[in-house]
Amino acid sequence: SLVSPTDPWFSKQWYMNHEIQPDHNILRVWNQGLTGRGVVVSILDDGIEKDHPDLWANYDPLASYDFNDYDPDPQPRYTTSDENRHGTRCAGEVASTANNGFCGTGVAFNARIGGVRMLDGTVTDIVEAQSLSLQPQHIHIYSASWGPEDDGRTVDGPGILTREAFRRGVTKGRQGLGTLFIWASGNGGLHYDNCNCDGYTNSIHTLSVGSTTRQGRVPWYSEACASTFTTTFSSGLATDPQIVTTDLHHQCTDKHTGTSASAPLAAGMIALALEANPLLTWRDLQHLVVRASRPAQLQAEDWKFNGVGRQVSHHYGYGLLDAGLLVDLARVWVPTQPQRKCTIRVVHTPTPILPRMLVAKNVSACSEGPRRLIRSLEHVQVQLSLSYSRRGDLEISLTSPMGTRSTLVAIRPLDISGQGYNNWIFMSTHYWDEDPHGLWMLDLENKGYYFNTGTLHYYTLLLYGTAEDMTARPPGHQVTSRTCVQRDTEGLRQESEGDGQSSIVAWLCVLSSWPTLNSHTHQAVTTGWVSCHPVIPARA
């Protein structure tokens, strides 16, 4: 029996109140006492109604700003059609207050929540970069439910400054552990759009979130693509239930939809994981999300096992995000070893594109002498420039040495552009933890009229990963030592053998017993955390 919040609309939150099984398994995490306390999330959007009865208690002014008017007040601009309700709705999903008799409950209802108003004015590279680098030592998670147009014809991504903001975020943000950027994967399903044509969702620095309906089906707006990591519930057809959250004018709504609603749910769950283990780096989180996402009841025609035995789909990534599993893994995660990058120039002379063309490359040079530079893959990117008579007719896929075929961009019938791709980078998460050594096969196929022509100017394979054999890590509990040093309230050192109740998390011990589910009660640190020696922040 799990304790539930008393908020009147919690009964409508079908995606986390155990009304369906499996759901996001958030109740279990709350009942372990994790509610997002100490974590700061900011919603980059059109503002936040900071005085909303369900938000004001968690509102964090330091995590907020208005880059339209360059002032600290992120209050949305009110219009007759309430078009600037988006940020407030996304914020409520993450951190609307629990047990206050109002509306529903945020996934991380004790996290601090801020809002950046930047979407409802002139958006430039400068505005995006400033928004994504607001207070990087204070804000832990940035959630963004916007992006280039999902019209099935656009190929667009972050500008120079925004890419610099991502890079700075992951290398310097959160005291070097790396800022967490959570992104909505896109709503272009109706236009056969593909989120690998969106440089925000296919960036290695963002964690892209897809959507599923209550029945576990692919929503009409969902875009399949290889760069999606995980999936959370959202809406579907008009008859499908949607997401409950705060709304403008101090109201509540149960009509939040789209992948916009999915990203904040994931952001909230990741906030719970960060509370369980604040030393997680941005790459640790991505590893954890891969492991904490499962096919569950999600229906897709393209589920397949990748080379390390994980099921993956272009619609859902690794599947439905399970907060309980995410937190369990976070508690015991041993920090990921430093990121390695391997750049392999495969094609560097202009090559005519045949109707069906396979470009093979045997990757063996990804080593430093006898030592393998990368033993376990993370992101794999294909960077290329090509011209093609009708861009959307060209389908590009990549098959790894372990036999995983990932469609980097599928046919886009509305993309009639003759401009081709210029230095564009496609990304896939599908080879996560695979061994990169062996034959990589790039497959270009004309899916349109036979008279399409083009030239591949260059193609570079970019492999990211780590030297550790991640598949060798024991599943579940990974305690490197059962000895846990505890301190009593006077700080005196006490040695204790593992009592089965504690586990070592990056050298911090967590006593996993949080008896009560309530907001804003402050537990004495010694009952929740003790510090072990040594504390080594993980380096990404």
Binding site: V123, T124, E128, P136, S145, W146, L161, E164, A165, T259
Partner: protein
């Protein structure tokens, strides 16, 4: 879709704030400060430039290009971003 140029520039200066101020006074920009909390990128706006235009402002491009202390600059364009 053709880019729409706005009246802002991102400029990277070798010698920080003082230099950005000097450059702004010299060419009539308004220095809106640093873009990143800790570095040399500055946000300059020019009131004499159309708020939105289909063409970049060649005059200022040329002037900035000639400035030795300007490492990099870019006239900003309108980014079409939709809520999801």
């Amino acid at each position: 879709l053709a880019p729409i140029y706005v009246s802002s520039w991102a400029v990277r200066m070798t010698q920080g704030y003082q230099e950005a101020e000097r450059l702004s006074r010299k060419f009539g920009f308004v220095n809106l400060g640093q873009i990143f909390p800790d570095d040399q990128f500055f946000h300059l706006r020019h009131r004499g430039v159309a708020k939105q235009s289909l063409t970049p402002h060649w005059g200022h491009q040329l002037r900035l290009k000639k400035e030795p202390k300007v490492q990099w600059f870019e006239q900003q364009t309108l980014r079409r971003r939709v809520k999801r």
